[in-house]
Symmetry: C2
Subunit: 209 residues, 2 copies
């Protein structure tokens, strides 16, 4: 076999994180935020992503406390829910994605909205105290903000709002950052996505690197 390469997963992580800490500008992050930013850069493969990461001052603490207390993680896409490393979760937390529930296509039609947005209506019984992770659909993040305008809607503990793309991604994240209905983390602009969102969850879930 011609190719020799690093085959030790732990060594690959350690080398990767060391490269990120040498190359990225992480000085503005608090100690509890820095490992989250490092993993987000890791997932993106792009030093410089950290410049677009914004976290409310109480985001890292609130999100971690929620997971330790057993809160579920509510995800807008299966690529997010499938990426969460179950063995890192501190309380065997539920990881919920309602996008493929059988009722969603009809709900979407009735709401004149996307399936991603309609699926959030099924979050209501789980939403109080949850960690929300939106890594795909701007329409889901916009719909969540509209849901939270109702004072009777349960409040999540924290929101990771990192939808990606060209239509609505920047706008929905700017809206979340302006509203801050609960502590939140965003990637400003077009960048984001399921891998970056999963990385934030995995960093919050455990301090192990």
């Amino acid at each position: 076999m011609s190719y020799t390469y690093e085959t030790d997963g732990a060594a690959i992580y350690a080398q990767s994180f060391a490269m990120i800490r040498a190359e990225a500008d992480l000085a503005r992050f608090a100690p509890e935020e820095e490992p989250i930013a490092v993993r987000m850069v890791h997932a993106s493969g792009m030093v410089g992503l950290e410049q677009h990461v914004r976290m409310s001052p109480d985001f890292a603490t609130a999100a971690r406390a929620a997971l330790i207390a057993g809160a579920p993680i509510l995800c807008d896409a299966r690529m997010v829910s499938e990426g969460v490393t179950r063995t890192r979760l501190p309380a065997d937390n539920q990881v919920i994605c309602t996008l493929h529930d059988a009722s969603v296509p009809d709900r979407a039609k009735a709401m004149s909205n996307t399936r991603s947005a309609a699926a959030l209506e099924l979050w209501r019984p789980h939403l109080g105290g949850a960690l929300v992770a939106i890594g795909n659909a701007p329409t889901a993040l916009f719909h969540l903000l509209n849901m939270l305008e109702d004072p009777d809607c349960p409040r999540p503990a924290a929101i990771i709002g990192c939808p990606v793309g060209f239509v609505g991604a920047r706008e929905s994240k700017d809206a979340l950052w302006a509203d801050q209905p609960v502590p939140c983390c965003i990637v400003q602009g077009r960048l984001g996505g399921s891998a970056i969102t999963v990385a934030a969850i995995n960093a919050i879930a455990s301090r192990a690197e």
Copy 2:
């Protein structure tokens, strides 16, 4: 509800792809390659990604022919296999990820390699004529190249090699591009990942935008 936004999924796609075609430099792609590059840029949220995309001249044609002929899609991670839009597949193709097979942890120990690499040993019965999609682990791509050095190892029809990251990603993709054991598509350098890989699959699977 305060926020109004585009809620029509088809309109969001159309606007997004129009923005990408206005902003990105796609001139060097052949007609059958261009929609693949557009979707990869879309998934990344980053105009400029297209500069790092490389496709063998026969990649788009070979990969599409394989799917039309009913080939399975072999994925290195659940975030890849979960992202494939099943309704776009031309032959109800199988989408296979062997990473969580119960035998993989022991195989990885015996091979002194990562679980991602060890999982590829379970691909062998499916590998002949398949579309391979590696969107996460450089070790998986390196191990595939080593497997293919054995002339008795079945040949896939095409390889999407887009692992992401800081250790081995660039090197494994450079190795694939240098070897070209079969037609392939890579994102050179550190960038890549499951979303970009899924985007390439979804573009190959159907010409619908």
